[in-house]
Amino acid sequence: MDNTTREILELLEDNAKLTPDEIAVMLNIDAAEVRGMIKELENQKAILSYMTLINWEKMGEEKVSALIEVRITPQRDVGFDAVAERIYRFPEVRSMRLMSGTYDLAVFLEGRSMKEVSHFVSTKLATIEGVVSTTTHFVLKTYKQDGVIMEDGEEDRRLMISP
């Protein structure tokens, strides 16, 4: 990966709102070149999506999140992948990772209530063939997500004018 590509990706990761024109000025390169490179990165699936991180709590929205530790039986040829796919296809699953250690999958769920999350785990997740056990941990508070501190108290306290 060349330096310009890395810089474009870092800028977009930091602020997906930046336009190709702005990026072009910031990196001192041609705007058409930036547009072409972004298109290419999207085609390569290097750029997967442009996300917005929202603090729903601030908007009074009730959401319940949970981390489910799932133990599964691996299958010949495909290992964990086939069972994993059956799980991550559910829209309730926000993210999922294969882990080393005492359990196999870390599944992050989001629902409107504890009842909804519990219902999903007991009726859909735990009943999948190959799932050996599940342990549900409800999230009490999110302090930081995707590198962003949710309640950042670090306001700009600088004077308006200084030498």
Binding site: M26, E154, I161
Partner: protein, 409 residues
């Protein structure tokens, strides 16, 4: 009862000193609501967490006492190692480095140690607001060397030579420059160093923005032939490590000068706060990656800011360092102060009139790009609206005034 005029008791040198042009404008800004400020001469980043954490830990361990007048030896050793590694200039941390309360104190000490009444101090103009007053308060006479965009806001060896009189003792350099962002070309600096050696001048070099150099490499004056012992190198942690409020700086130079500075320091400041010194030590040990990231951010904003001025039809010198742009606004028909005041009143954008940095700054304004991209975007939308109302047509200028090797226009 007759009211006594207590100002008569004040030392005339202080009484007659004009207040900073920045301070006067500051009072106007605080009275205005909804202001986007591009007038701030400090990073918009909070000090990186690992530095703050190291400071908290040092307090937990009970580091709450005085340090040596010179500063913590460990910090001086780290400064010496950093200067040797970065610029290949060696200093003895025991008697050639003094830790000060910011570069401001180091500058004041250097002036007071070097100047006798009537000694002249050569300095570029426009430049930082406290240089001339510090020289005056130390009994010296500031002699300005005007610069402009046509010479990249840089002084030349010829200009220095022509400004020298039998009373000239000190040459003050400040590159990258506040407020212009100008950087000095190494070749021109070599010629200036020759003039300094030939005329036995002491150079005070304020290198606080040295790490924030985007065009070429920063040349440390002390690293040039014959300059190590006749240079008082001033630097600090405020700008590069986003540590303005910690007030830690240092002076490095020949032991005769640094020891003399330490004498005044021990009777006035005694020592820099140990808490701040512990934080500075952490910054030097582990702060380089964070610093580089901040510099990258400034560099990207720099391009955006210069282009925005060109788009609105105002010529803008391309700064090679620091985090300021210094566009020429005289085409609006307003002078620096009128431009800044009207922009503040009509569009609630604060920047600093160029003449606050000396008469050569008239016709310009200083714009800090230590602000977020979103803030810069909104500030420039407002500014473009204001400039259009002044009758300037957008996009009449197509390219920034380039710095070719830091010198030419």
């Amino acid at each position: 009862m007759i009211q006594k005029n207590w100002s008569e008791k004040v030392n005339p040198a202080v009484r007659d000193l004009p207040p900073s042009g920045i301070r006067r404008f500051f009072d106007l800004v605080v009275e205005t609501k909804g202001v986007i400020s591009l007038g701030v001469g400090e990073p918009d980043f909070v000090t990186p967490w690992h530095i703050r954490e190291a400071c908290i830990y040092s307090l937990e361990k009970g580091y709450t006492m005085y340090t040596s007048n010179w500063g913590l030896l460990e910090l001086r050793e780290a400064v010496a190692a950093d200067l040797e590694h970065t610029y290949n200039v060696k200093y003895n941390p025991r008697n050639e480095i003094l830790i000060t309360v910011g570069v401001s104190e180091a500058l004041d000490l250097a002036m007071r140690v070097l100047l006798e009444p009537g000694d002249e101090v050569l300095m570029p103009e426009p430049s930082y607001v406290s240089y001339a007053p510090c020289a005056t308060l130390a009994g010296g006479v500031p002699v300005f060397m005007p610069t402009g965009p046509e010479n990249g806001f840089c002084i030349s060896a010829e200009q220095v030579q022509a400004s020298i009189t039998p009373r000239t003792k000190v040459l003050l350099l400040c590159y990258p420059n506040n407020p212009t962002g100008a950087v000095m070309d190494r070749n021109e600096l070599l010629k200036i160093a020759e003039v300094a050696v030939q005329n036995d001048l002491i150079v005070i070099s304020d290198e606080i923005y040295g790490r924030l150099t985007y065009v070429g490499e920063h040349t440390c004056v002390a690293s040039l032939p014959g300059m190590r012992d006749r240079t008082v190198l001033l630097n600090g942690f405020s700008k590069a490590y986003a540590m303005t409020g910690w007030r830690v700086g240092y002076a490095a130079g020949h032991s005769d000068i640094i020891s003399a500075m330490t004498k005044i320091h021990q009777y006035s400041m005694l020592c820099t706060s140990i808490t701040a010194q512990m934080a500075a030590l952490e910054a030097l040990k582990n702060g380089q990656p964070g610093m580089r990231r901040m510099v990258e951010h400034y560099n990207r904003r720099r391009h955006l800011v210069v282009q925005s001025f060109l788009d609105m039809g105002l010529p803008c010198f391309e700064p090679g360092g620091a985090f300021y742009a210094f566009p020429r606004i005289s085409a609006t028909g307003l002078n620096s102060e009128e431009f800044a005041e009207e922009l503040l009143k009509q569009e609630q954008v604060a920047l600093v009139p160029g003449n606050a940095f000396g008469q050569s700054g008239e016709g310009f304004v200083r714009v800090s790009y230590a602000a977020s991209i979103d803030e810069l975007g909104e500030a420039f939308r407002r500014m473009a609206r204001f400039v259009r109302r002044c009758g300037i047509r957008p996009k009449v200028i197509s390219a920034p005034v380039k710095i070719s090797g830091g010198q030419s226009a």
